[in-house]
Amino acid sequence: MPKQENCRILQHQQIASTVFKLTLSSPNLCQEAKPGQFVNIRVSSKYDPLLRRPLSLHRIIKKDNAFQLLYEVVGKGTAILSQTKPGDDLDILGPLGSGFSLPSEKQTIILVGGGMGVAPLVNLAEKIKDQRPKTKDQIIAFIGAGTKAKLYCEKDFKQIADKVLISTDDGSHGEKGFVSDLLYSRLTIHDSRPASIYACGPYAMLEAISNIARKNKIPCQVSMEAKMACGIGTCMGCVIKTKNGYKKVCDDGPVFDAAEIIWD
């Protein structure tokens, strides 16, 4: 069950100029959370900013009863968050949302992360690896970013995945170009074993990945974003258009079958 709880900050590391890794204590979250789920954080007791901020579960560290978030400072909410220190408590709602559906049969797991979109995929990769240590399933991670300095979690993926392919828009690391182009160019390489794509990143990237998946008839799950008010499914504020009508990102998602989404 999701909970509202005050989670103690255990660690707060700056891992790049605007990116932070936050480690929080919560036995409940560790117990309950599935990859692809998120937490909704109250960053300030003042009313500006007013709303909570959603962040994906980046890693679960069972042995410490802790979980990690990986976030970029993009505005005032995340800026305030970045000022918090170990020992502080944060008012957190979670775990929220549906999460990724894990593969039920042996297959090639294709992770595609753009920018901060890598955050929940690490959690997913670790979970898959955990659950199926002995299968021969390949995990292939495609990670992309605008430039080398903005490419995160390369090391994490290298530890977990069988293969890590990298692209940057400016070619400063890995292939030059979008990660969706990289995926497209490498898809044919894979054998005909069943495969699934799990993608998280900017809207345009997810749309491109979704098209690639459709053309290649590969099932594809995408983690979507929307502005949220409640994060728990009551306000109907975070909807996106799907073939089955408006669906709530916080509740029906954030992970959706890419084929269900009406991209605009």
Binding site: Y47, L50, L51, L93, K227, G233, G237, V239, Y246
Partner: protein, 301 residues
């Protein structure tokens, strides 16, 4: 402890309700709060037919407030009666159903249907939603339309009628008096202010529907003023809504003349807000040596 009350004939264990549209039909919030501790649950606006609502984005944060343009998305009255009410029936808390329609007749029809449901203890007429072309603001900004609407619904049901007013008017007291005279048992105010937000970078409206309703602490001063004005001209209870985040805010509305309050946006920021508010009111009463919160109503000086 000094919180029991009766509003429009509806018995409540305390005067803290949850505002329509900010608590769904109670199911999701029930994971975080004990519904039995609430004064009443006011359900998200239901209409006769399903409504798909407005295109996204539907939410935009503003300074100490938020805009929403949900547009009354709901699955219609039969779905509500069949699925939402049975869930709510599991609790002892009075259920007040907030309804809207395109015409007085639709409101009346909804009222009739809901009158048959024993767990429904009252109706709140949403004549103030700024997010729909029909069935919202056009009633709540005109005193004749308000009067006519309330009279029509009054004839259709014996349920207590709370009329929820819009702040988007020149003189709230005119509309309030019209509603009272037409047979309302209580007035609730305020619904949201019509607002807009534009992204300077992209030049796009921040809401798919262009405009939305402003709620939250930003609007509290106007809500308090309107409650104060209204409480002076109507004899029926006034229910205060608008930016209530904590116990002191609730007290402020009581002092201004509210007989009860509704907690809206605060539910998003802190699902436990309504219960914390109940506790904080209790603490205030203790501190100020008051045996009942009613001693506060209208007592500003």
């Amino acid at each position: 402890m000094g919180l029991k009350t009766e509003i429009a004939g509806i018995k409540m264990k305390n005067p803290v309700m949850v505002a329509s549209g900010t608590f769904g039909y109670g199911e999701e919030p029930s994971k975080y709060v004990d519904l039995n501790q609430l004064g009443a649950i006011i359900t998200k606006t239901v209409t006769l037919e399903p409504r798909e609502g407005n295109p996204p984005p539907r939410i935009c944060e503003t300074s100490s407030g938020m805009l929403n343009s949900i547009g009354l998305q709901n699955k219609g009255i039969s779905d509500f009666v069949n699925l939402a009410l049975p869930f709510l029936a599991k609790f002892k808390t009075p259920v007040i159903v907030n309804i809207a329609g395109d015409s007085p007749e639709q409101y009346a029809k909804l009222a009739k249907i809901l009158s048959r449901e024993p767990i429904v203890k009252g109706l709140e007429l949403n004549i103030s939603c700024p997010n729909v072309k029909k069935g919202g603001l056009q009633f709540g900004t005109d005193h004749d339309a308000t009067s006519n609407l309330v009279k029509t619904v009054r004839k259709a049901t014996n349920l207590p009628l709370i009329v929820k007013l819009s702040p988007n008017v020149t003189d709230i007291t005119v509309i309030a008096k019209a509603a009272a005279k037409a047979g309302a048992d209580a007035i609730s105010l305020i619904n949201t202010f019509l607002g807009m937000s534009i992204d300077a970078e992209t030049k796009h409206f921040n809401l798919g529907a262009k405009t939305g309703g402003l709620s939250g602490p930003a609007i509290k001063p106007v809500a308090v003023r309107m409650v104060w004005q209204t409480a002076q001209v109507v004899k029926i209870p006034v229910i205060g809504v608008g930016g209530i985040m904590n116990g002191n805010d609730a007290i402020e509305f009581f002092l201004a003349g509210a007989s009860a309050i509704e907690v809206g946006t605060a539910n998003f920021i802190d699902p436990q807000a309504p219960l914390k508010i109940v506790k904080e009111i209790e603490e205030y009463l203790k501190k100020h040596n008051l045996s009942h919160y009613k001693a506060l109503i209208g007592k500003v000086n």
